[in-house]
């Protein structure tokens, strides 16, 4: 697969490490979260057959973590963005 890196352009997915669903960024608030919140965060996944937002770590590149929107039935990629907020130049 080819991931169109927002800064570097098309890069082979082999340069990346797949980290899983993008929901992993929504870590529960330790102050308020319940045991169920933690369970759901750590263990439950939508796992859709279709559009999926997921994290790819560019370990063999600039070490950015990207949020990739990809169709899990066709592998077509519709969007790629940097995971880190205030995406730097």
């Amino acid at each position: 697969m080819i991931i169109n890196h927002p800064l570097l352009g098309p890069r082979d997915s082999a340069e990346f490490v797949y980290l899983g669903a993008a929901e992993l960024m929504n870590r529960p608030d330790p102050e308020t979260a319940s045991a169920d919140d933690w369970h759901d965060y750590a263990y439950l996944r939508d796992n859709p057959a279709g559009t999926h937002r997921e994290l790819w770590f560019h370990e063999g590149g600039d070490r950015s973590i990207l949020i990739v929107t990809r169709d899990t039935t066709t592998h077509e990629i519709s969007a790629v963005e940097l995971a880190r907020r205030g995406a730097p130049k």
Binding site: L7, L8, G9, D12, A14, E15, E59, G60, G61, D62, R63, S64, L82, R84, A87, P88, K89
Partner: protein
């Protein structure tokens, strides 16, 4: 002055050179390296000071800049690798840090890497056996991180189609050297 004698990444006292046909691979030990990462919130200040230090704005993503004493290479968002002549700038991290101070985090990287120069008219025939770079568009001063036989390397185009600089993990210098020289024998 201390009394410890350095060895090159390939374990020699002198750098190694290999030639196949009209392409030459040279180990280059006299390079000092420092990583520069802008502090969060200090990106602009870092850019300004870096520009002053480099005599030009720091390279954009996928690009490298040459200069005296410092050359630079974009390595990540708000992050660069600076290089200089080891003989004059062995403690490059301290030197650079003195200029950037609290605008950036500076880390010595000199001996994290082994440096090779690959030169000659047919280097692309060698490179296409080693790494996934679109050589139809790899112009001078382009630079990229890529994988060579499972080793994460930086490849910098110092003269399109004529010469590249390869930075690879120092501990694997032998494996990297073997990969490049076998590719030279195969392609040339």
């Amino acid at each position: 002055m201390h009394d410890l004698t350095p060895i090159t990444a390939l374990g020699g006292t002198a750098p190694r050179t290999d030639t196949v046909g009209d392409v030459t691979l040279t180990e280059v030990p006299d390079v000092s390296l420092a990583s520069v990462a802008a502090r969060v919130g200090q990106e602009d200040l870092c850019a300004t000071r870096l520009a002053k230090l480099l005599g030009a704005t720091a390279p954009e993503p996928g690009r490298a800049s040459s200069g005296d004493p410092y050359a630079a290479l974009w390595t990540g968002p708000n992050q660069w690798m600076l290089s200089a002549d080891f003989n004059t700038h062995e403690d490059i991290a301290a030197d650079v840090n003195a200029h950037l101070t609290d605008a950036a985090s500076v880390t010595e990287q000199t001996d994290a890497w082994v440096c090779f120069d690959l030169t000659g008219p047919r280097i692309n025939a060698v490179l296409e056996l080693l790494c996934n770079i679109d050589l139809t568009r790899f112009d001078t001063a382009n630079a990229t991180r890529t994988s060579i036989h499972h080793l994460g390397c930086f490849v910098i185009s110092t003269e399109a189609g004529q010469s590249v600089r390869i930075l690879g993990p120092r501990a694997s210098a032998g494996s990297l050297h073997h990969a490049i020289t076998t590719a030279m024998a195969s392609a040339l």
